[in-house]
Every structure is written in structure tokens, then in C-alpha cells.
């Protein structure tokens, strides 16, 4: 699949700009610039080299790099989520775990089946699978980078202590992955949270804006989830069809090189366009549409979480009010109730204030990201269709002109 590798630079360089492609309006200013300059894939883990350039005084140097693994990213994300101070912000969603299992499995199967196919077929398939592996690798790098950039772009989160440690501390953060017990705890916490979420969501909000956002986000999130899973399925079928076409092309090539009869010439001719057409389209759809949907699935979940936190705070506030009334009525523990109510009130108001802006930003980001990706998708599809058209026309021309 030289073709795939030749085209590699095209979407690779886009991929490099990928993270910024998903979230367009990141104000990357000189005070803090973060990126992943390198990544190494070892047997079952990926090591990311996080590179920072900053003029902020908090850092010892202006430019430095550290090596981080996926678990450390998760630790950072979780620390944000658990921090009450950040309850009023949309926490950038955590990057998905690097998953090379499928790709590795395919490479293994290829190795096992080596005897049953010709040398050309084998090398071709190997190149394809390697390209696939590379693509997944680049995607995971991009996802991790987006996360860091979002944090760096957020006016409040960028100042977080843990974030600075993450960026600067050049030794292992000793963040071990969660053990079984902790994972179970997490699971139960999530169950409780979603049950609570339903309860909280049921409470009608006084503020129209938030009430509208709540309904909107709920529906939107579900539909993005649906669209994301359907797009995955569609892309899988497309990939299967593309794989078949590749096999057809290589069999035709084998038939074509057996001898120099006319029929063989035709076979050779037709195998060329076939190889190029389908694989590329499948790859592009995957990048643009599916990744976009997946990302906004996570973002909309983060937005929902924000609303939940606010809703929770509201319920707490209302409960605190009721408690205060009761205390005043009974004239017992009034001071306690008052302070508790004030705390709740402050918390609620703080969240509400920032939440509103966050949600508006979310909308802007989303619209911009969709625009960029849809435009790029259309342009890529057009480019490929036109290229294929040319190739096919020249093939048909040669075939028809022959004799």
C-alpha cells in the first residue's frame, strides 16, 4: 500500500494539527504552550513526551519536557473532577485509553496466515496493517494532546497546581492505575451518581437558560451517542468492503502478471484504481466524522456533568433553605443552619456564574469544530472523488483505445 503511505503526509500533518482541529478557538498564547512532541509505543504502554513552553514565573525553566503515560493523564483529569473549586467548569474530557489490541491481533493473524498467501499479498497486507497501526497511534497522541491544550487554554484550570506538577515534574508521578477495589468503588460511585443525576434533573430550574440547557444537553448527548455508534458501524462496513477491494486488486494483479495475454493486461489495469479508491474514503470518514462525534460525545457528557453539579448544588441550596426555615421555626441551631445555607448559596451562585459562560463557550466551540470538520470532510471527499474520476477515466480510455 505504497499509496497509503504516500498519502500519509497529507493526513498525518493534518493529524498533527488535529487537536487544534477539534477545538478551534483555543487561545494559545505565549504564556503557556503545551504539546506532545514525541511518543513511543512499547509493548503494552505508550510513553508521551509532553513539551511545555512557558513564560509564566511558576516554572523553573522556559522550556522543558517530561515523559508521561496514560494513567498520569487520567490522574490529572480525575483530580480536576474531584476538586470542588472546579465544580462550575466543564472539565475537558479525559483522553481514551490507547487501544492497539485490535490492530495487534490483526498483525498476529497476518503472521499466522503468512503461508497461505503470496509474497506480494503478504507485504501489501502488512503495509496496510502497519499504516492502520500508525493511524491509531497518531490518533491517540492527538487525543492526549487535545486534553492538555484544553487545560492550558482554560483561564482557571491552567493555573492548577497538579497541572504544573504534571508538566514539570520530571520523574514518575507514581500514579498507579486503580486496583480492583478502587475500580469497584468507582463503579458504585457512578451508579449512585447517575441515580442522583436523574433525581436532580427532575428538579425544575428557576433559571430559563439552565432549564433549556438541561433539556437540550440531554437530548443532544443521546443523539450524539447514537450517531457516534452508527457511524462506527458504517465505517466498519466500509473498511470491510475496502479490504475486499484490496484483495480483489491484489488477486487481479497476480492474475495479470502470470503472462502477457490481453486479459492479463486488463486485469493489471483495473487493479490500480481499485486499490486506491475505497481505502482512502474509509479513512477520511473515520477521521473527520467519527472522531468528531466521539469527541463531542465526551464533551457533551462533561457539560452534562457540570449541569449535574449545579443541579446538585441547587438541591443542596434549596434543602439548606428549608433546613434554615425549619431551624428558625423551631429556633434551634439557627446559626448552624444559616452558615450552612450561606455556604450552599455561595457554592451554587459560584457554579451558576461560571457554568453559564462555560456552556456558551461549549456551544461556540462545538459549532466551530463541526464547521471545520464538515468543511474538511467535504473537501477531502471531493478531492478523492475527483482523483478517482481521473484515474478511472484514464483506465477506461486505455482499455477502450486498445484495439
Amino acid at each position: 500500500m505504497q499509496e497509503g503511505l504516500d498519502d500519509g503526509p497529507d493526513f498525518l500533518s493534518e493529524e498533527d494539527r488535529g487537536p487544534r482541529a477539534v477545538n478551534v478557538d483555543l487561545q494559545t498564547d505565549a504564556t503557556l504552550q503545551v504539546d506532545i512532541s514525541d511518543a513511543l509505543s512499547e509493548r503494552d504502554k505508550v510513553k508521551f513526551t509532553v513539551h511545555t513552553k512557558s513564560t509564566l514565573p511558576n516554572f523553573k525553566q522556559n522550556e522543558f519536557s517530561v515523559v508521561r503515560q496514560h494513567e498520569e493523564f487520567i490522574w490529572l483529569h480525575d483530580s480536576f473532577v474531584e476538586n470542588e473549586e472546579y465544580a462550575g467548569y466543564i472539565i475537558p474530557p479525559a483522553p481514551p485509553r490507547p487501544d492497539f489490541d485490535a490492530s495487534r491481533e490483526k498483525l498476529q493473524k497476518l503472521g499466522e496466515g503468512e503461508g497461505s498467501m503470496t509474497k506480494e499479498e503478504f507485504t501489501k497486507m502488512k503495509q496496510e496493517l502497519e499504516a492502520e497501526y500508525l493511524a491509531i497511534f497518531k490518533k491517540t497522541v492527538a487525543m492526549h494532546e487535545v486534553f492538555l491544550c484544553r487545560v492550558a487554554a482554560h483561564p482557571v484550570l491552567r493555573k492548577d497546581m497538579n497541572f504544573h506538577v504534571f508538566l514539570e515534574y520530571n520523574q514518575d508521578l507514581s500514579v498507579r492505575g486503580k486496583n480492583k477495589r478502587e475500580k469497584m468503588e468507582d463503579f458504585f460511585k457512578n451508579v449512585v451518581k447517575s441515580a442522583d443525576g436523574v433525581l436532580v434533573a427532575g428538579v425544575k430550574d428557576v433559571d430559563d437558560f439552565f432549564e433549556h440547557e438541561k433539556t437540550f444537553l440531554l437530548e443532544y448527548h443521546n443523539r450524539v451517542k447514537d450517531a457516534s455508534s452508527k457511524s462506527d458501524r458504517m465505517i466498519r462496513s466500509h473498511k470491510s468492503a475496502a479490504d475486499d477491494i484490496n484483495r480483489i486488486a491484489s488477486t487481479l494483479y497476480t492474475l495479470g502478471t502470470q503472462d502477457s495475454t490481453d486479459v492479463c493486461k486488463y486485469f493489471l489495469l483495473v487493479s490500480l484504481p481499485l486499490q486506491k479508491i475505497e481505502a482512502r474514503v474509509a479513512a477520511d470518514e473515520d477521521l473527520k466524522l467519527a472522531d468528531l462525534l466521539k469527541y463531542y460525545l465526551r464533551e457533551s457528557q462533561a457539560a452534562k456533568d457540570l449541569l449535574y453539579r449545579r443541579g446538585r448544588a441547587l438541591v443542596d441550596y434549596e434543602n439548606a433553605n428549608k433546613a434554615l426555615d425549619k431551624a428558625r421555626a423551631k429556633n434551634k441551631d439557627v446559626l448552624q443552619a444559616e452558615t450552612s445555607q450561606q455556604v450552599c448559596c455561595q457554592k451554587f451562585e459560584k457554579i451558576s456564574e461560571s457554568a453559564k459562560q462555560e456552556l456558551i463557550d461549549f456551544k461556540t466551540r462545538r459549532v466551530a469544530a463541526f464547521r471545520k470538520n464538515l468543511v474538511e470532510l467535504a473537501e477531502l471527499e471531493l478531492k478523492h472523488a475527483k482523483g478517482n474520476l481521473q484515474l478511472l477515466q484514464s483506465c477506461v480510455g486505455v482499455l477502450k483505445g486498445d484495439t
Binding site: R223, M234, T261, Y266, V270, F370, R371, E381, K400
Partner: protein, 525 residues
Amino acid sequence: MAASSPRNPPPLPGADNQDPLSEMADEDSDEGEDIFVGNSNPVAESFQTDTANGEEPADLFSEEEISTTVNSSITTTKSNGVHSDNENDLFAEASVELSMENPSTIARENPTTTAKTSGAEFTPSRTQTQPKSIEQLEEDKDEDSFDMDVAVTNPEKIGDGMNAYIAYKVSTRTTLPMFKNRTFSVWRRFSDFLGLYEKLSVKHSLNGCIIPPPPEKSIVGMTKVKVGKEDSSSADFVETRRAALERYLQRVVCHPSLLQDPDVREFLERDELPRAVGTHTLSGAGFLKMINRASDAVSKMTVKISDSDAWFDNKLQEVESEELQLRKLHAVVESLVNHRKELCGNTAVFAKSMAMLGNSEDNTALSRALSQLAEVEDKMETLHQEQAASDFFILAELLADYIRLLGAVRGCFEQRMKTWQRWQEAQSTLQKKREVEAKLLWANKPDKLQQAKEEITEWEGKVTQYERDFDRISVTVRKEFLRFEKEKSKDFKSQIVKYLESLLQSQQRLVKFWEAFLPEAKAIG
């Protein structure tokens, strides 16, 4: 063999004439099918005899002369160059008809005939003459284009329940004078097509002809149709079968020898065909066929011709390896068709999902763009569906046809092998008889000796006959194979072009869809 072609004149009584020319003619009269291409064989010899008779070999009418001599060549050689008027009259009409066809081939025939004359010797140096005849044969193939079109259309379900069947309209359009009309159509059912194949097979396969095989029977497919399932799968099945039957018939009428067969004519013309027996899978004849085929399969593995002509071995190997590759290809194409159908379904589902997402999006421009995207995806679904159909009808069926045809080609080569076997066995029997004779001579038993001598003569005759058969079948097989290769090349080329054009069309439509969508996407925000 001669008995199978009723319209041929009876074989010459002096079949073992020393005259090689008459031998040639004799062989051809036995075959009968090779009238068109076989033209050139008797042509060569009789052309000489005709000119010897002072008939004008004028270009325009040379074919007439040629064809006149096809059937009357027997008589000319028999009567040593003197035309028998009766014979002439009998066939004059026939030959005139033939000559109407291809004035274009006449010019080509002339140079080739002279070449053939020199290569007429068929006996000892076989290898020497083969190359010349190949040249001849390759040029002859251009004659295969006559004005004849057949189409199979309008499948209609006749009857109900398990006795129902599909009747197809077989329409012919032709300028060939051997048919009563120029355009005509009849109704046939699938078993009629199979019956035609059986008849042609019986008559011609022993001569080394490549008989195009019909599409396969499908109990599952037909049962669905019979039961009356009105869904797309049974409609697809009927359409696939109709197209396959059409291609089958087209191949049959394209074959110059088969076209001459009265059974083919009857199939195309006759209003009511007697129901073909022995074509039903579960009949006695069906089982017998299966058993015969199985036993053939075992025997064919073991024989190898120690043939000085490596051409046949090479070609057989090529055929076998090609068949293997085509089978592999066919399997992948079928997988592709299935995946495309799957993709079709998934795209439709995805389109709906995107439409829903567009609906819930509160930014109007984005919402509109997403709905547009959903429409584009919907259109892609149609595109995928059509692409799947073209994958199937153009590619998969082409491959399936050629896998069957290559099987028929192999059968052809096997026939030659069998003929060779028979010849070899006859030779060994002759050898044994000679040994018996020698023993009897020594033992001096005069009465048994007489019998032994008679048997030797009998077997000598058989050996000569079988050797001639083998030579004849070798020529036919070679000719047929070259013709097949040419057809295959044409067929593949046209189908590949069709397929590429269908791909081209999809890409053009894709361009249209996305060009329409792009401004919508840019308008967001």
C-alpha cells in the same frame, strides 16, 4: 459419431482412401459442425479441384464456391474432381445461403486457403503441420461475427404452488437465412435450456467442442419463487437467472458449429418444445449423471498423454491455474457484495441518526448543515446499493460464468485424453493380436490362424480410425481453445470496461453530492 448429425451426407464408403484429400473431406463430413471454420479445410483441397475444373475463383463468389464444395467436396473427390450435378443441386441452395453472410470474410479466406493447402497433410509429421493450421485457425476466427442477436426477457411465473415455473421469452433477431423469419420469439423454461445443453453435450463434446455450460440449478432459489415469496431476494434470483440464461444462449449462438445444430434452431424457433427429460435433479437420469461425473473425475486424474506436442499440456495447466485464481477472486467479490449491502444498511441508519442530531442542534446553520449531511449520506446509500448490484452483475457473474466455462474447457481436454487412451488401448490390443497370430503360426493351426488374421485386420482398422479421431479431436480442441481465448479476452475486456464505467459514474455522483454540500458546511457559524 456420424449418426449424430443427420443432415450430413453419409460417410464415404472408401473411407480409408489413400488420397489424403478425401480423408480430410471425410473427417469433416463426419463432424458436420465445423462448417464455417471447417470451410477452409475442404476448401483448400476442393478449391484446387474446382480450379482444376475450370470454375472461376472470382473473389466475390469464392465463398460460394467454397461452400459449394463443403458438401459436394465429398462427391468431387469421390468422383475425382468431376462435379455430380445432383449433389450440386441438393446443396446449391444451402451453399448459397451460407455465402450471403460474410462477404467481408471472403477476401480474408482467399489468402488463407492457399496457406492451408500446403498444410493439408495430416498424417506423419503432425507437429510440422500444426503451426500452419494454428495461423489458419486464428485468422478463421474472425468469421465468427454473424448477424444474430438473442435476448432472454420477461420472466413470468406460470402456474401455482410447487408445480409453478418461470417462463422466459427468448427473442431472436437475425439475418441468417437458415431461419424462417428475421425476428421471432418463443417461450422457454429453465429445463428447456438445460435440455438444450444436454443434447448439444451428447453430440458435440466427444468431438472436443467447448460447449458453453448453462447456469446452475438452484433448488432453494426456485422454491422461494414457487412458494410465491414476493421479496427482493426472489426478484434478484429471477433476474440473475434471466441474465445468466441470456449470456448462455448468446455464447451458444456465437459458436459457429453449435449454431448449425438443428437442436439450437429448434430451441430458438419452435413454438412448443417437448418437455426435456433427464434434467430434473432428482430423476433417475440425474442421479446417473452424477455418478458418471464422479467416476470420470477419478479416471481423469491418472492419465497423462505422452504427447510430443507440449502445447496441450501447457494450456491445460494454464486453464487449471486460472480456474483456481478465478474461484478465489469470485469468493472475494461475493464477500464484497455482501459487505456493500451491509454498508448500504448501515449508511441508511447513520443518515437517520444524523438527521436526528441535526434536529436537536440549536444553532440553525449547523442544524441545516447536519440535515444536509444526512441527505448526502442517504444518497450515498443508494450509491452503495447500485455499486453492490454492479459488483454482482458485472463482476461476480462474469467470474462465475468463466469458472463454469473453464470447467467445460477442461472437459474438452479430457475428451482428447480419452480419445488418446482409446487409441493407445487399441494399439496394445493389436499388438496382442499379432502376438497371438505369431504363436498360432508357430503352432500351425490354420483355422484359428484365419480368425486371428481377421481380428488383426479389424484392429488395424480400429487403430487407424482411432488415430485419426485423435488427430481430429486435437485439431478441434486447439481451434476451440483459441476461439475460447479470444472470446474470453473480448468478454473480460467489455465487462471490465463496464465495471470501471459504473465506478466512474459513482464517483461523478459523489462529486456532485459533496459539491452541493460544501457551501452548506461553509455557511455554518
